[in-house]
């Protein structure tokens, strides 16, 4: 069959979800943010919950997430998204509520809000993008920056004796009774994306059960901050990030 014969509506197997706005994503080439945005929007579309979903955007690269997602959203102060989401969900228990936060937002300035929302067992979903660096402000050290990894505020590499150790926030929140589902995913290969999609879907579905926080960390790249090409950064991520931040479910609901 010719290309023209194949490219017909009835043969369509994949296209960008209609829940994206027309605005071009502001992220750097190859950045995982776009992929995670898409998985969230696909989940919302497939569950048919556009009219009952409220998202909370962070401060960080995803500060403008609301520009791209065709859902009602609010933009939180740095680190405070779980506090906003707490009120949104408690005041609107029938709505699906999620926060979308980076590592600086969730694991540095917002540590208290993250831990306490998880500990209270708030019934919303946290999507946590961990790329080990502050992307938006130009590549500074994050709480998740790996030992010896270079960033603009640790130009000779993270000296753990001086700067402390990378924080495994996901393992930490998994210890809390208020978290229901805690998992760590990535979006750098097709297989990883499909797995991550399932995790995000589950994290949203869990809100029907009112059992506590569903927490999905996505270990992602920051090729601009890491100063690599996107393809190189994905390889570097596999070799360096995954050993420290191993992928997989950390806390699975006991059925």
């Amino acid at each position: 069959m010719t290309r023209e014969e194949i490219i017909k509506e009835e043969n369509l197997v994949y296209k960008k979800t209609a829940l994206f706005t027309d605005k071009a994503l502001s992220y750097c080439p190859g950045c995982g943010h776009g992929t995670v945005h898409r998985l969230i929007l696909e989940t919302i579309e497939e569950m048919g919950i556009q009219a009952s979903t409220i998202g909370v955007a962070p401060v960080g690269c995803a500060v403008l997430a609301y520009e791209f997602m065709d859902i009602d959203m609010m933009q939180a102060a740095h680190g405070r998204a779980p506090a906003l989401a707490t009120a949104v969900k408690r005041l609107n228990p029938d709505q699906y509520v999620f926060t979308y936060q980076g590592d600086g937002d969730l694991a540095a300035i917002g540590t208290a809000e993250t831990i306490h929302a998880c500990n209270r067992g708030e019934n919303f979903t946290i999507i946590f993008i961990n790329n080990g660096i502050y992307g938006m402000t130009g590549g500074q050290m994050a709480p998740t920056t790996l030992p010896n990894m270079k960033a603009s505020t640790c130009p000779y590499g993270r000296d753990t004796a001086m700067m402390g150790n990378p924080l495994k926030m996901t393992e930490l929140v998994a210890q809390l009774p208020g978290t229901y589902y805690v998992t760590r995913q990535s979006v750098h290969t097709a297989g990883a994306v499909r797995k991550c999609k399932k995790a995000i879907r589950k994290a949203f579905e869990n809100q029907k059960l009112d059992k506590g926080v569903s927490f999905v960390e996505v270990v992602s790249n920051c090729n601009s901050g890491w100063k690599m090409t996107p393809v190189q950064s994905n390889k570097w991520m596999e070799e360096n990030m995954f050993p420290y931040y191993p992928l997989g479910d950390i806390k699975v609901p006991q059925v």
């Binding site: 194949i6 017909k8 994949y14 080439p29 776009g34 097709a190 996107p230 393809v231």
Partner: protein
């Protein structure tokens, strides 16, 4: 012979040329263009008819610029 045949359509103006799709294609269908788009990126383009419509490229594309079609033959 493949039992399925696919085709991809790339929104080249939205492609940022990250090349992530190139490596995930099992059939080596995608390569980067010599030309650039309006933003100055070398964009992804299909270079042969070997596509099976597996959707790997579309699934990893951070900008969602790839649409995939597939037929059984």
């Amino acid at each position: 012979m493949a039992k399925v045949q696919g085709a991809i359509v790339i929104n080249i103006e939205r492609c940022k040329g990250c090349e992530v799709c190139v490596g995930v294609c099992p059939e080596s269908v995608i390569a980067m263009s010599k030309a650039v788009n309006g933003k100055g990126y070398h964009y992804a383009e299909p270079i042969n008819e070997n596509c099976t419509g597996c959707t790997n490229c579309a699934v990893v594309c951070p900008d969602g610029v790839i649409t995939v079609y597939r037929v059984k033959i």
